[in-house]
């Protein structure tokens, strides 16, 4: 595989995006980045700007107000990049299936601007930090 993908697998920098979640998945993500789970051994680091990121951790069902902003953040992430949909709402709308203000789950919103986007799904409500780590590692080794 090319050296770009190899180095992406060894050092994925993550940026956390909340598109209208109930914050349960956000608490699990922030707990994941504490020293207890030590994700720095995989090279994972939390960065403050989407322009520095390789992986977007997206939580929440994408509300109609958040959809254009999520697309803008995706465009600002330099390619190659991976999008992780964390939680049942981000994977397939969850409890908000018939909601009136929902623009669709994460993959539908992102595939509108980039049909070749790489999207990985970590279901759960909320997924445990161990599940998120396992999901990230599996997605990176499948690249």
């Amino acid at each position: 595989m090319s050296w770009k993908i190899w180095s992406l697998k060894k050092s994925p920098w993550v940026f956390h995006v909340n598109t209208g979640a109930c914050n349960n998945c956000d608490i699990e993500i922030v707990g994941l980045l504490t020293p207890k789970f030590d994700v720095e051994r995989f090279g994972i680091k939390l960065v403050g700007s989407p322009r520095h990121a390789d992986a977007l951790l997206v939580t929440g069902v994408v509300t109609a107000q958040a959809a254009p902003r999520l697309r803008e953040i995706y465009r600002q992430t330099p390619k190659p990049c991976v999008v992780f949909a964390i939680g049942a709402c981000a994977c397939e709308k969850g409890v908000f299936t018939n909601g009136y203000h929902v623009a669709g789950p994460v993959d539908k919103v992102i595939k509108e601007i980039d049909p070749d986007a790489i999207i990985a799904y970590v279901p759960g409500c909320p997924p445990k930090p161990e599940a998120i780590i396992s999901g990230v590692v599996k997605a990176l080794s499948a690249l």
Binding site: T63, A64, Q65, N98, G99, Y100, H101
Partner: protein, 152 residues
Amino acid sequence: MKLQELLNRLSEIKDKLTKIEQASEKRIYLYCEAENSYAVNKFLFEDLGLRFVIETGIDSGPPFNPIDCFEIIYHYSDDESGCVVNLKVFIRDREKPAIESITPFLPAAEWKEREIHDILGIDFKNHPNLKRLILSDDWPEGVYPLRKEVKK
């Protein structure tokens, strides 16, 4: 103030209310019509010094009310007795529901009334800034999502 004193003071505005109901030891429901809402709210907030908690809007009908109407519930609480006073205001006009806003003397109600206007379409008179709050900018005008007749 203590519970008995609260009940005594509430009977001063008895003529503006349709019913006073004490559901349990710490819960009082007051029922009122839309025209008297401003005066009763002013009395509860300024004269009795109750704490304003939140404001709720409901598209109400059977079995809670015999005919369909809109209902706005103002929740107040009293520090000393721990009593919660709920003021239920009924808006009978379903075509153009309107009520006077309490923002002039209670600035904390500004965003709550904006949200109720956004979602239920109730017009608040004398509101300083009645703009769209939580629906997105390209949501169609005139479609109020939480009304019973709007189905997805």
